[in-house]
Symmetry: C3
Subunit: 354 residues, 3 copies
């Protein structure tokens, strides 16, 4: 009788070049959109209203970029990170085809790097994951690396291969699904008069508000994404663990921060790329999340004068307002309140669109 439960992959189970077809394709619906709104309260007009989305050239209100991310990512957890000790980083995240309610997302991953750690007990697995829709169009791809336990400490170490990880996604690789006729973009309904031209590299924006996390909320979010990582759900085990309580899914913090960023970045239509991200500290129920952003770069999109790109770093901190922009000290150590350092690229209408 075969044991039919899936214990997840351990470090020695991964092979360079291995392709993993993840389970549970997911049809995304207006129901998911409503849940996402109730969990984060985002006010971006694009994802809130179909008539608004049509003014930027879409057929209807699209699924929020980060909801796409969470769903594509969630499918990889049972195969890639069920036995992970640490989620080390992301790179080269690139959104492709717009996702609409009714689309079905599936994820496949390829192992692109393996490096056993010196302790002989763990190793780093690098994967390239690709989410596609029902027409097999890429909706999101990204690279991720995680530290995974070995089950059998005697398993031989693989030849170490560390892939080249891009520092950021070049503007020429961004998918730009919007087309705005001159004067069609409604600033009042969008919620801010500030467009691409109004932002400066180095500009810092305090998003002011703070929101407190509840256990029911982060678990509902994480289940909505069908993400099964155990640390988020099981108090009976986590009570005895390192933190004595459930840990909030890092992506939940990204979505909270993105939602808070409306106040200052209301015209950031969507996230087009995830250049990198670090969860610098765990978050827990009861924490109040604040956020601030810095404009890292400002990029014209070749051949387009209706839309531009901004590279943004959004930093989230817990139980600490961000009017003085907490980040790193001179030695590069994060302020202990910082929980997220997220580097991404947004698309924003230009002056000619409004």
């Amino acid at each position: 009788m075969i044991n039919k439960t899936n214990p997840g992959n351990f470090f020695e189970d991964f092979r360079l070049g291995q392709e993993i077809v993840h389970a549970t394709p997911r049809t995304v619906t207006e129901g998911d959109v409503a849940l996402y709104t109730s969990l984060y309260g985002a006010r971006f007009a694009l994802t809130s209203a179909t008539p608004f989305a049509q003014t930027v050239g879409l057929e209807r209100a699209p699924i929020d970029s980060m909801l796409v991310f969470h769903i594509v990512f969630g499918k990889t957890v049972p195969d890639i990170s069920l036995n992970a000790i640490a989620n080390l980083g992301y790179a080269g995240g690139r959104f492709g085809a717009v996702v609409y309610p009714g689309d079905t997302l599936s994820t496949t991953s390829k192992v692109i790097g393996l490096r056993q750690n010196k302790d002989g007990k763990t190793g780093v697995v690098y994967v390239h994951s690709v989410g596609v829709n029902q027409r097999n169009e890429m909706v999101l791809e990204y690279m991720r690396w995680v530290m995974v336990r070995k089950r059998n400490l005697d398993a031989p170490a693989p030849e170490p291969v560390v892939p080249q990880l891009p520092d950021s996604v070049p503007v020429t690789d961004l998918a730009v699904p919007y087309h705005i006729q001159p004067g069609q973009y409604d600033l009042a309904r969008a919620g801010s008069p500030y467009l691409w031209e109004d932002y400066e590299v180095g500009e810092k924006i305090d998003h002011i508000d703070g929101v407190t996390i509840e256990e029911a909320e982060h678990m509902q979010a994480t289940r909505l994404y069908q993400n099964t990582a155990r640390v988020h759900f099981n108090l009976h085990v986590e009570r005895e663990g390192r933190f004595g309580r459930r840990i909030v899914y890092g992506g939940h913090i990204i979505s909270i921060a993105r939602s808070l960023s409306f106040n200052g970045l209301a015209n950031a239509l969507s996230i087009a790329a995830i250049n990198g991200g670090r969860h610098t500290n765990p978050s827990f129920a009861g924490d109040t999340i604040y956020a601030w952003s810095e404009i890292l770069d400002k990029m014209e999109i070749p051949g387009r004068n209706d839309i531009g790109a901004l590279r943004v770093r959004t930093v989230a901190a817990k139980d600490r307002p961000c009017h003085d922009f907490p980040y790193r000290d001179a030695e590069g150590n994060y302020d202990p309140a910082v929980v997220l350092d997220f580097d991404y690229t947004v698309l924003m209408p230009r002056r000619s669109a409004a």
Copy 2:
């Protein structure tokens, strides 16, 4: 570099006659309906089932009146009441076109009154807010007045203008979207044999049940409405505030009370008007809400014998059952357990419909 975050309007920022186009139009969906059901558990057949809605002449199950209210209202918060100290009242609330899943709601407000308070630090702002659908048909309009802080205490006081506020919405102003053929109304599926003829002015009804509020629930509700008022979300700040905790959005209490009122008012198809409302005490997570209603008036609808109107006062109390109808004492002071005094008009089938 311009500060791009929106601090909200202060008293001196408002001008008589000013029109404010609120941000974030919202396409309402079946997802919002499911959330609303999970948050309040309402059992009114009209909003629960399309075949039932068709028996009263609608094309499908409509969006609950109070969900329309919360969405239309939520849009006004960032512009009208972000710096409000108190939500003083509502008047002249009138529902118009029926809202269905797929409709997109937007809100615009006009400043119809301004009166600085004697303390020179605050003033009362009166607005007339109008929610419309994607065809620009009015779905809800109401007047509201709030006490708002001044930022600059030296700003001159405006000429005081206090608008005339109707005591109630006349029956001739009610939109009555239902048309019921004789004998078509299914009392068993509706959940009660009592129709318009069965209610008497002065009749009091204890709705019996109580429901306890959780933090996750009231925050999810308030975010679903894209209402950004800070007191509902930020424990880190509110812990130091007057109550030491987050305050529940007053509209959440209205929806709880309306849902409880099914037991006694099951055939109250929808709210057609909001004559007035007061949140007489704040509510918090952990409070258990009970409710009772009094029939204030009973109105025939001109030219209609399938439907009548009832003016109802629903009172909600916390941690106190309502079998003895707690309300006000001889001096007019509210019972300390009372949290809501809500005066509204419902539409109810008449005997000939069933």
Copy 3:
């Protein structure tokens, strides 16, 4: 003036053969599906993705069997079990027509047995409840018996009638809505290589994971089902009750256990029958639910080689991992950690389908 609130039926209000049309028909939507996913995180591909559902012969992703159960069941509560002391059991539960988003469910019950208890204060009511869709096709039928209070202790005892209750639903009575062309079933997307042939009678499976319940979650679930049983919602009353807190709806535990069972039973497409079920202990917020299953029987479906049936017992326990399969002791007494003993039949693809 008639008291218009519904106090629920007491034992003496039921009559043998009585038919009860329950209130509040319910149109099930994609919104309900999203809520259900956020509450339980189920990963079964069939209910998650329309393209997958089409590979087994359905038109689109169907509503989860247990969501159908909860909605059909919830309607019966105000009439059958509002004054119940104990939910004694289920039998003969049989799912019929597949339910899709957009379908409207209604429930009718018939009293099939009555037996007053010796104490003269309570009695057992047996009902046969039938849920139908808008075409009046049966979607679920089941028998249930509950112990209900008498209001008037002097009311005469009815002639005792105890219906015959089947031990299980015969395989020939199962509705099998799936048709899988050879080789069309995608094991990778389904999440497990184990098919009907791979399971053995007597096989036990630990589903490994545990999930902790929150008050907001079980109340949102129970309201989504429009189930009004008071013990789930009112802390103000329950604080003084037997357990000092709100009790989790037993069906919430069934859905948690079914979701956990994915790890080991991923190809159990749906529940086709509920043979019996007992809630052996109450569950509360803060409890962590684990589950294990035993294969009780393995049945060919006449004339079908693409699909087979498995009779399964899933046992849920709280705050206790299930690697050693906690159940009953030699005297038949349940392990005190066990909260659910659920006997049901699932449909699973056979080898020829994959």
